[in-house]
């Protein structure tokens, strides 16, 4: 069962991170008197922390400290951990390239 959980962990963490950042963005933008630049800074810090966590997971999977039941499950877990890091970078890139709280006119 541990192997199944390890397979699921990288992208589950990505999903939790994604939901957290999206929710944080909504909360910061809804807070009265909020500063868009501060909101962006908070989001970037959150992004950095979550990315660091994903990298930590990849490192732990690759280390010999955690024993997998087979070489195959270790390989797949490492692949998923790497893919989740790429997903993290790509999906949170909007933090740096878009405006903070403004809605675009339709």
């Amino acid at each position: 069962m541990i192997d199944i959980l390890r397979l699921a962990l990288p992208f589950t963490l990505w999903l939790a991170a994604f939901s957290t950042v999206y929710g944080l963005h909504g909360f910061l933008c809804a807070t009265p008197g909020g500063n868009p630049i501060m909101a962006k800074s908070v989001l970037m810090i959150a992004w950095a922390l979550l990315l660091a966590l994903q990298v930590a997971i990849l490192i732990s999977f690759r280390s010999d400290r955690f024993v997998f039941s087979s070489v195959w499950t270790k390989k797949i877990s490492v692949t998923l951990a790497l893919a989740a890091i790429i997903a993290n970078i790509w999906t949170f890139l909007p933090i740096v390239v878009t405006t903070g709280c403004r809605a675009l006119a339709l």
Binding site: L7, H25, A83, L93, V97, C101
Partner: protein, 827 residues
């Protein structure tokens, strides 16, 4: 014992009751799977007829074929039936039928639950079809947005049929999902480690987890909307602090994973069939597993792409646009793996292969238009136009229906035992494929020309007339093709001559059993050393029939299979299954009474039915277990194993774990809804927040310390050979304190009609109250079981199950009370 005598003995043990009675008392996965698929196909035919009505209406401008009221019901029911009563149930039915055979097992984890889920599907689906025939079908679109679907926009009973009927049907989906997860993890052939599982098992596992996490938000949304409609609790009314966008979030949190729940089983089917058609093995098995897992989880991060036009901030739009484009990567990995498999193999052009080629062409087009609509400015142009209708049909028909037609023809010999003789299927293939593309390429075009979706007719002179007419002609050609498929399958199933076993020379275990399948699947269970056991040992089928595998001796007269270690596939225990019973259908009927009471507002029927369900659950659970410790049992081939019911983690523990996982997602969605309304909805704060006082928090804290501690104590005492009663009493007192706290919250708050805050407080407290009451009942049940001699240090599975329920309820009451008290404390 020779093969024939073994077959007869096992058939006596495993067969369903003869005649009509067997339909209602069967708990055999083969029978239920067949019934499931047949009912799903019937709903497909109904949905298809509705599609023909839609195309007949839209073929010409200013059509008087249907008025707007009827048209609204027709397109709503077309979508609802196809999504909820055809696609998901067909996956469930196919998996119920095929999964144990693929895994080398004799049944799914919980046979009576399979039957219960099936009957809930039949009764819930019948409720919806009744509404269609009676002219009171839901009419607000298959995604039922308020305020159109609220009481003001839809005052009649139509919407209630959807909300209540779909929730009833979803019991079947949740049941099947729990079963599939537990079956894939534990109910496999010995030696079938994770990397040796058939690829379809990985897809089934992933999809089942998606159902457990994706369906609860919709169940919650349906409950909230029904509470608003029936009792004026204003979750979606802006004036009273609600927000109709909350429905959209909850719906699409379900709705986007839903389409991957529909696509992924079809991808599993392709990954299984395509290598066989290409006379090779799947290229990149590990990559495909990784792609399926990542696609499944990524799909939960896309939901807002259905809401790009709702005024969400720029950054939010960009998050979901990025995630939506990213999802093409794992999809493409699978497609390239399939292309690579074809490349290295020698593809043979049988009918299943033709359907797979049709899938490639169609799904890739649908995927490309999906990437187009992931780009926000493009989506703003095509949102709510026929372009979106065309996109969704390309991915759903191309990505699900075509592969399932491939599956139908691939596994038909396995199901019927007959060789295909009549060749109407090839004609049907060309009619459906060409007809479909004519229909929906035209629909893309007319969408780009500006035609909106869900309009019952249109004026001349907009350039839509000829395109719609061509589309409708294509639609009718497609329908004729599907009709031919039904005739072809019926003829080949009933009239064609017997075929040989394993006509495709495939390597997976479902071809190692006689065709048509006997009730027991395998006369003895195989030991597996690779992903293609039949290729390793061409005589495997004969050896299993002779009893040379495990559990080949039917002498105990019980329905037996094995459970294995999750990762390694090492045999762990012997499972003894229940026999035929009418309990599932009776329970589904009584559950139906509960839903019917809510639908028809006969409210006294609701608690009465709930008590009936509780009584039947007690009857159901009481029949399990043993009154004495059994030693290890022989599994054959010199292997002795304990009974699964007498291990630390019996099957019921695993089932409870995953059911509570789904439950946790439901509760999480509820807290999300609360946070959403609090931060985003206009007209907050409410007139007043609940004042916590001292008694409520004290009851919560005291109760939620006593309850888990008491359950833990009961377990420790039983392990030490003592009685569990002191611990159980303490736990019960804790739960009663929790119940009192929740009642106090409801009594102290403003009425739930006052503001969305008060309505949410009532729902959170009600959720805690319900769970505390259920767990209190469970504690009393386990006490009775202890008095009757069902518990011992070895037979402590029931206590372990109780403990996870107690722990879960403790967490939700603590979190729920905290969420309710927090605003009052802050202000």
């Amino acid at each position: 014992m020779n093969a024939l005598r073994r077959h007869r003995a096992l058939t006596r043990i495993w067969a369903s009751d003869p005649g009509w009675k067997g339909w209602f008392t069967t708990v055999n996965h083969t029978d239920i799977g067949r019934m499931f698929m047949l009912v799903a196909v019937c709903f497909f035919v109904i949905g298809g007829l509705l599609a023909m009505l839609i195309r007949a209406q839209l073929a010409t401008p200013r059509s008087a074929f249907m008025g707007p009221e009827v048209y609204n019901q027709v397109f709503t029911m077309h979508g609802t039936i196809m999504m909820f009563l055809f696609a998901i149930p067909l996956f469930e039915g196919f998996t119920v039928y095929m999964l144990p055979k693929l895994l080398g097992s004799r049944d799914l984890a919980f046979p009576r639950l399979t039957a219960y889920g099936f009957w809930c599907y039949v009764f819930g689906g019948s409720m919806l079809v009744f509404s269609l025939v009676a002219g009171i079908a839901p009419d607000s679109g298959w995604f039922m947005y308020p305020p159109l679907s609220a009481k003001l926009g839809s005052p009649g009973i139509n919407t209630d049929f959807w909300l209540i009927g779909i929730t009833f049907v979803e019991i079947s989906a949740i049941s099947a999902a729990v079963e599939i997860v537990v079956s894939v993890l534990r109910y496999r052939a010995p030696g079938m480690s994770l990397d040796k599982m058939p690829i379809y098992a990985w897809y089934a596992l992933v999809v089942a987890v998606m159902i457990l996490t994706g369906f609860p938000p919709l169940i919650l949304g349906s409950i909230l909307l029904e509470l608003e409609r029936a009792f004026d609790m204003p979750f979606f009314q802006v004036a009273e602090g609600g927000d109709s966008l909350l429905w959209q979030h909850l719906f699409w949190l379900f709705g986007h994973p839903e389409v991957y729940i529909i696509f992924l089983p079809a991808a599993g089917v392709i990954s299984t069939i395509l290598p066989v058609m290409a006379r090779t093995t799947l290229l990149g098995y590990g990559w495909v597993v990784a792609a399926a897992v990542s696609l499944a989880v990524l799909s939960f991060g896309l939901w807002v792409h259905h809401m790009f036009t709702t005024g969400i901030p720029h950054m939010g739009l960009a998050f979901f646009s990025a995630a939506s484009t990213l999802v093409a990567v794992p999809t493409s990995i699978q497609i390239f793996a399939w292309i690579g498999t074809l490349w290295r193999g020698r593809p043979e052009r049988h009918l299943p292969m033709l359907w797979i080629l049709a899938f490639f062409a169609t799904f890739v087009i649908g995927g490309l238009t999906g990437v187009m609509v992931a780009v926000v400015p493009f989506d703003w142009q095509v949102h709510d136009t026929q372009f979106i209708v065309a996109h969704l049909h390309y991915v759903l028909v191309g990505g699900f229906v075509f592969p399932m037609l491939a599956a139908l023809y691939y596994w038909l010999p396995n199901v019927t035992g007959r060789q295909r003789f009549f060749k109407l299927g090839e004609t049907a293939f060309w009619l459906i494929t060409l007809g479909f593309h004519v229909t929906f390429l035209a629909v893309h075009w007319v969408g780009l020309l500006g035609m909106r979706r869900r309009i019952h007719t249109y004026e001349e002179g907009q350039g839509w007339e000829i395109v719609n007419l061509i589309s409708s002609i294509g639609g009718f050609v497609t329908a004729i093709g599907f009709g031919l498929v039904i005739i072809d399958v019926a003829l080949n199933s009933l009239v064609s001559h017997r075929g040989r076993r394993n006509p495709w020379r495939a390597g997976t275990l479902e071809w190692a059993i006689p065709m048509p399948t006997p009730a027991y699947n395998f006369a003895s269970l195989p030991r597996v050393h690779s992903r293609n056991p039949m290729a390793d040992d061409p005589m495997l089928a004969n050896r299993l029939a002779r009893g040379e595998g495990l559990l080949g001796d039917p002498g105990r007269g019980q329905r037996e299979t094995l459970v294995v270690d999750v990762a390694t596939g090492r045999p762990d225990a012997i499972v003894v299954f229940p026999t035929n019973t009418a309990l599932p259908i009776v329970m589904a009927l009584v559950t139906g009474g509960l839903f019917l009471g809510m639908l028809l507002k006969i409210y006294w029927l609701v608690p009465l039915s709930a008590l009936g369900v509780a009584a039947l659950v007690i009857r159901w659970a009481w029949s399990l277990g043993d009154r004495r410790d059994e030693g290890r049992q022989s599994a054959g081939a010199g292997l002795d194993l304990p009974l699964a019911s007498q291990t630390a983690e019996p099957p019921g523990w695993w089932g409870s774990l995953f059911l509570l996982g789904a439950n946790a997602v439901f509760f999480g969605s509820l807290l999300f809804g609360y946070a959403f309304l609090w931060t985003i909805a206009p007209n907050w704060p409410p007139p007043s927040y609940l004042n916590p006082g001292l008694l409520g928090p004290a009851l919560v804290l005291a109760g939620m310390v006593a309850a888990p501690f008491g359950a833990h104590l009961a377990g420790r005492r039983v392990d030490a050979g003592m009685t569990p009663y002191p611990g159980l009493v303490l736990s019960l007192v804790g739960m009663l304190a929790g119940i009192s706290a929740m009642v106090l919250i409801m009594a102290s708050s403003q009425g739930p009609q006052t503001h969305a805050y008060d309505a949410t407080v009532w729902v959170i407290a009600g959720y805690g109250l319900f769970h505390a009451a259920v767990v209190a009942g469970m504690i009393i049940f386990v006490s009775a079981r202890a008095m009757a001699g069902f518990l011992s240090a070895k037979r402590n599975g029931e206590l372990r199950i109780l403990r996870i329920w107690v722990n879960y309820t403790t967490i939700v009451i603590l979190l729920g009370a905290g969420a309710i008290y927090l605003p009052g404390l802050l202000t």
